[in-house]
């Protein structure tokens, strides 16, 4: 790898710019492929670029046979994101654990006494009302959304925007009873059964969690499960 290729990869990662590195693994030629352009020896090879762009959409690194050559396509997408509604106690360990697991975490809560840097050191805070905050952050298929306020006034607007997005995971804190009431409200708001079924509630895997940190573990475990099972299913198709 050329030093300037490495520097460019690092620069792109810092700027959260998606890029794929196409390497001819027999001779070492390397081309950087972006959404609209490419730089390197294969910058005019349409087939490689097409495959690399699809790999970026699929978030998948793989070796391909292209024109009799073995090309390894390595995808460098920006980090996965986790948007947490509610700067509550559980959000404190969850935001930290998710950061360690590689997520770019934002906690959304308009209540200034909850969403403080003292409670969330190093975590991005968004003080908008959850629907506005969520809309601004524009969740995509590489985003997980977790609502934790336990207050329909705050959780519901966030969930409604989440349900209209491609977020790969939507989880909502609350008991079965709380969720049943939530389902009624969302149905009344015009969401279909299939749409509402995207919500994981009660949130997290059932592992007997008691403390906020343990609940955070169960949530992060479920997010991980959904992320990789989804990818595996897509791989089989």
């Amino acid at each position: 790898m050329k030093q300037h290729t490495l520097s460019q990869l690092i620069k792109d990662q810092n700027e959260k710019k998606a890029v794929a590195l196409a390497t001819d693994i027999d001779i070492g030629l390397q081309t950087l492929v972006y959404d609209n352009t490419a730089i390197g020896p294969d910058e005019n090879n349409e087939e490689i670029q097409q495959i690399a762009r699809q790999a970026m959409r699929d978030d998948r690194c793989k070796i391909y046979e292209i024109g009799g050559r073995r090309i390894f396509i390595e995808v460098f997408n920006p980090s996965l994101r986790m948007l947490i509604v509610g700067a509550v106690h559980i959000a404190q360990p969850l935001s930290r654990m998710a950061s360690v697991a590689g997520y770019d975490v934002t906690v959304i809560d308009p209540r200034a006494s909850f969403a403080t840097d003292e409670r969330f050191p190093g975590i991005t805070l968004n003080g908008e009302w959850p629907d506005d905050g969520m809309r601004d952050l524009d969740p995509d298929r590489r985003t997980a959304i977790v609502t934790l306020t336990h207050d329909p006034k705050l959780d519901d607007p966030g969930i409604e925007v989440a349900l209209k997005s491609d977020a790969f995971y939507i989880g909502a804190l609350g008991s079965r009873k709380t969720h049943a009431a939530r389902v009624e409200r969302l149905t009344a708001a015009g969401f279909s059964e299939t749409e509402i079924a995207r919500i994981h509630a009660p949130v997290g895997l059932s592992i007997g969690s008691v403390s906020p940190a343990e609940i955070a573990v169960s949530i992060l475990a479920q997010v991980t499960d959904v992320l990789h099972r989804k990818a595996d299913t897509e791989a089989i198709v």
Binding site: M1, S7, I10, I25
Partner: protein, 115 residues
């Protein structure tokens, strides 16, 4: 067993790329190893990185620790020749049997010099 060629954890390897770049800047010879395919129960997904400098310092990993030593030896060779190499480790490979992928999977690792 499903191949886990998911790139979701790549940001975790930021520190490997940054360290590799820092070594280069300090004038060291550096090689980068990348997992390019896996089969069975390999501990690290495709896209995992390990960087090695000329003094044998390493950052990152390409397995749970089972083949790192062998990869570092190959990386030193690649640093000298400048020619990239594809290494294979797995249950069917006699050498790999010696260095041992205890997990019973197999992986291909691409090793290249950063120049």
């Amino acid at each position: 067993m499903v191949d886990r060629n998911v790139a979701s954890g790549l940001s975790q390897d930021d520190d490997v790329m940054n360290q590799a770049a820092a070594w280069c800047k300090a004038g060291k010879n550096v090689a980068l190893a990348t997992v390019i395919s896996t089969w069975g129960s390999s501990p690290r997904p495709v896209g995992s990185h390990l960087a090695v400098d000329q003094d044998g310092k390493i950052v990152g990993s390409v397995s749970g620790g089972c083949i790192e030593g062998a990869v570092v030896t190959e990386a030193m060779e690649v640093m000298k020749t400048g020619n990239p190499k594809v290494l294979e480790y797995g249950v069917t490979n006699e050498l790999a049997w010696e260095v041992g992928l205890a997990c019973g999977g197999s992986i291909h690792v691409y090793v290249e010099k950063i120049e």
